[in-house]
Symmetry: C2
Subunit: 218 residues, 2 copies
């Protein structure tokens, strides 16, 4: 992130300078995911990242200040991807039934299974690195929990905001899902996806029933 001010922005291999820089940055992010997601953040050196990216150290410092910076970027990119995919799915879905909630869950679990490096990043590598990263993690979890609650309220009209806003129910549900997902990844994705999904859906049904009953009896 140093002040590199090329007096002129030339094309190189047919591409503009800042575009090339961006491509290199992207390569480094991908290499970061590979390294952090397999050998782990602690055991990953900057040199290793650069080797994986097919670049030299200089280009690391072109786009990042330090290893922690890259970790944050990789983490945020995973979060962003998951959020975007989920929103897209919801907007695309015609009805807003339980099937939509199920599909969101499936998207989440499937993404982790298809790329276990992301699972490792989300659940393990991100923790205990530094206060700054801790804070990012806290925020991400809070947002996830808020999103989960919005989806639930959308598909289960029996749930309403006033009932939930002062409870830990959102956090508990998000926590349950996160923990089930993280244990599932530690257990090498056994039992298979469909089984996990039906079980999680079962949990959501429990929540729905319970809150509906609370609402009915009041």
């Amino acid at each position: 992130m140093k002040n590199k001010k090329p007096l002129q922005q030339r094309k190189y291999s047919g591409v503009q300078a800042d575009l090339r820089t961006g491509e290199r940055k992207q390569k480094i992010i991908e290499a970061g995911l590979e390294a952090f997601g397999t050998i782990g953040y602690a055991k990953t050196s900057i040199k290793k990242i650069c080797n994986l990216a097919g670049l030299t150290e200089r280009y690391f410092y072109e786009s990042f200040d330090c290893k922690e910076d890259l970790l944050s970027t990789v983490y945020q990119s995973i979060i962003t991807e998951l959020t975007a995919k989920t929103l897209e799915l919801i907007n695309r879905s015609e009805d807003r039934s339980a099937a939509t909630a199920y599909a969101s869950l499936k998207l989440y679990f499937q993404t982790l299974q298809e790329d276990p490096r992301k699972a490792r990043m989300l659940f393990f590598e991100i923790l205990g690195v530094s206060p700054r990263i801790d804070e990012e993690y806290r925020k991400a979890i809070q947002e996830l929990s808020s999103h989960a609650m919005q989806i639930l309220m959308m598909v289960f009209p029996a749930l309403n905001y006033r009932q939930l806003k002062d409870t830990i129910l959102p956090a508990a549900i998000a926590g349950a899902i996160i923990q089930v997902a993280s244990q599932w990844s530690l257990n090498h994705f056994q039992p298979p996806l469909e089984k996990i999904l039906s079980q999680v859906a079962y949990l959501l049904k429990m929540v729905e029933d319970f809150v509906a009953e609370q609402a009915g009896s009041s």
Copy 2:
């Protein structure tokens, strides 16, 4: 853990050699908790641990092979302490009602609040260190989830083993509690203990109701 074989075991300051060694080990474990639980595992050097313990590096290697060894020991000691306290509480309690489950939860949350270093160890510092430590974590969570289920079944006779054994309900409940506790610690233990506890108890009631209804309708 080298072969230190003193030809003779002398007393020193009135205590036997192996006893002194044990005391030093204990001091290092306590220093490890302090270091890992405040500045974090990654940023803790062996020298720092020894300074905190009031000992020199030599005595670290007297009882541990490496930093990771100490991390494992500190972690296990926290787990062991929590388990022992919980078992003691259950054995001491006369009835086996919901109040007992509530008391177990209180013990858990209270312990974390009283010593946030332990919370940090359990939830953050232990993750993503090495495959070996990951495995210890996995086992610990599995045991915790199994214990939680046993307590639940004990105080809520409506729950039974056959209903639960092939479900993720135990994992989900343990996950919810763990996550709520970890977020609570990240939020500097706000809201206060009693509020968190009543909310978690509310969750347990939800589970109880749900499973009771399932049993009744079958």
